[in-house]
């Protein structure tokens, strides 16, 4: 899990869920669900991005808040996937 990974995820979230508004503080532990930044549609966009950008395969069972609700969790999920 690197800062580069977090930066890439953050950039994706800002671009796609905040419509480019980078003034949002967006801390790495902010819940994307509780803050209404991501829904069923958004998660599919995020998963497609992760699969392409980080060359990982996301299983349907992986699509749970425990893996994808915050930037930190997403970065950790990518690390675990890349390690397997």
């Amino acid at each position: 899990m690197t800062d580069e990974t977090r930066t890439a995820i953050r950039a994706f979230v800002v671009e796609n869920f905040l419509f480019g508004d980078d003034s949002h503080p967006l801390p790495a532990d902010l819940s994307l669900i509780d803050n209404d930044l991501i829904d069923s549609t958004g998660i599919l966009e995020l998963v497609s991005f992760l699969e392409e950008r980080f060359a990982i395969q996301v299983a349907d069972a992986d699509i749970v808040p425990a893996n994808l609700d915050t930037i930190d969790r997403i970065a950790g999920f990518i690390s675990r996937k890349q390690a397997t």
């Binding site: 669900i33 991501i38 829904d39 069923s40 549609t41 958004g42 998660i43 599919l44 966009e45 998963v47 497609s48 349907d60 069972a61 699509i63 749970v64 808040p65 994808l68």
Partner: protein, 369 residues
């Protein structure tokens, strides 16, 4: 952990409840009629392709929280067999507690063994989800056409949908439409006058399911990508389409020349004074315009105030000049990893919607006890 699995008999009650609450927006509990129908449609019919099944999303405790109804369709693309999944009925609960359930369910279905997946009844939320999965919206298949036949009565009927007491004004609007009709003149987009034309050389005749199915096969062959129904399958679908209590009486006609040669078919539902709903128009190549004229004439003679239906590219072209209005209500969306199939669909070479959709099922337009 929540999971996705095939729809089973034991899920019928839970799925009927989801259907009733989320899609029919009803607080009434689902009745046995709906449960029996969901089982007949999504379990019994899928015997045709046991690998392509409806799917349910299941919570940790084993209860069902989501459903995608999948109808397998055997199709043919340039002579080769193709497997399609018609994924029209999509309902998911727990948006607050598990906002990713719908996403898991849709991903699971779209990753199935079919060559392509499609829906013709996608609302804006579903369409966004499909798009996120790299699906394609087919614009020319996603419009509702509307032809007003009796303008005053149509306006009343449209308003009475919200305030039924307005139907007390029916005699007044009949007089208004009679006056408009007497003034005659050319058709405009708000009034309809059947004009002399090619349609005069043809007659509409009621046909039974067997004949409708047989004739359908001959008209479908012109589409490079089309369903490969046998007659028994098509007849079974027409049996499902026998009744649409919310849409009115069924009219199932062939358009025939004086020598008895059929040049087209139409299937619609509607009662006098109401707005008719077309499920299917089929025509021999180049005869679409005549068949549409015959449909509109029949609807007007039966006292309908307007006709509507779903577009297909070939019909869209034939409707130019017929003073139709086009609106968008829901979308036809397709997902495939096969570029040739996608190209056929985006180029309008596929037979989709209506009978090759959900329009023939009782889920569209019928009442459940």
């Amino acid at each position: 952990m929540p999971s996705v699995r095939s729809f089973e008999v034991g899920d019928v009650d839970a799925v009927a409840d989801l259907f009733q609450r989320l899609l029919r927006k009803s607080a009434q509990p689902a009745g046995d009629d709906l449960k029996t129908y969901l089982r007949a449609l999504f379990l019994d019919l899928t015997d045709r392709d046991p690998d392509i099944r409806s799917r349910v999303h299941v919570r940790d405790d084993g209860s069902v929280s989501g459903f995608i109804g999948v109808l397998p369709v055997q199709m043919e693309f340039e002579g080769r067999p193709v497997r399609a999944a018609n994924c029209g009925t999509f309902a998911c609960d727990d948006r607050e507690s598990d906002p990713f359930a719908g996403a898991r369910l849709l991903r699971d279905v779209l990753s199935g063994p079919q060559d392509f997946s499609f829906t013709e009844t996608s609302n804006d939320v579903s369409t966004d989800m499909w798009r996120s999965m790299r699906a394609t919206v087919l614009g020319p298949y996603s419009l509702e056409w509307l032809r007003v036949l009796r303008p005053a009565a149509f306006a009343l009927e449209a308003a009475a949908g919200r305030m039924s007491a307005l139907r007390l004004f029916t005699p007044v609007v009949k007089a208004a439409d009679a006056l408009i009709a007497r003034r005659g003149g050319k058709s405009s987009w708000i009034s309809y006058t059947p004009l002399a034309g090619k349609a005069d050389a043809f007659a509409d005749v009621a046909v039974d399911d067997e004949e409708f199915a047989t004739l359908s096969q001959s008209f479908l062959a012109q589409y490079p990508l089309h369903p490969a129904w046998d007659n028994a399958t098509l007849v079974a679908m027409l049996q499902h389409a026998k009744r649409k209590a919310l849409h009115g009486e069924r009219v199932q006609h062939a358009v025939k020349s004086r020598t008895g040669k059929a040049i087209g078919l139409y299937l619609y539902y509607g009662n006098p004074g109401g707005i008719g709903r077309t499920v299917q128009i089929l025509a021999a190549p180049g005869q679409e315009s005549v068949v549409i004229d015959c449909l509109l004439r029949n609807a007007r003679e039966r006292g309908l105030v307007a006709m509507r239906g779903r577009t297909q590219p070939i019909l869209l072209n034939a409707m130019i000049g017929k003073k139709c209005t086009f609106l968008h209500a829901s979308s036809t969306v397709v997902h495939s990893r096969n570029p040739d199939l996608l190209a056929a669909m985006t180029n309008g070479h596929a037979f989709l919607n209506g009978l090759a959709g959900e329009g023939w099922t009782r889920l569209i337009g019928d009442r459940f006890g």
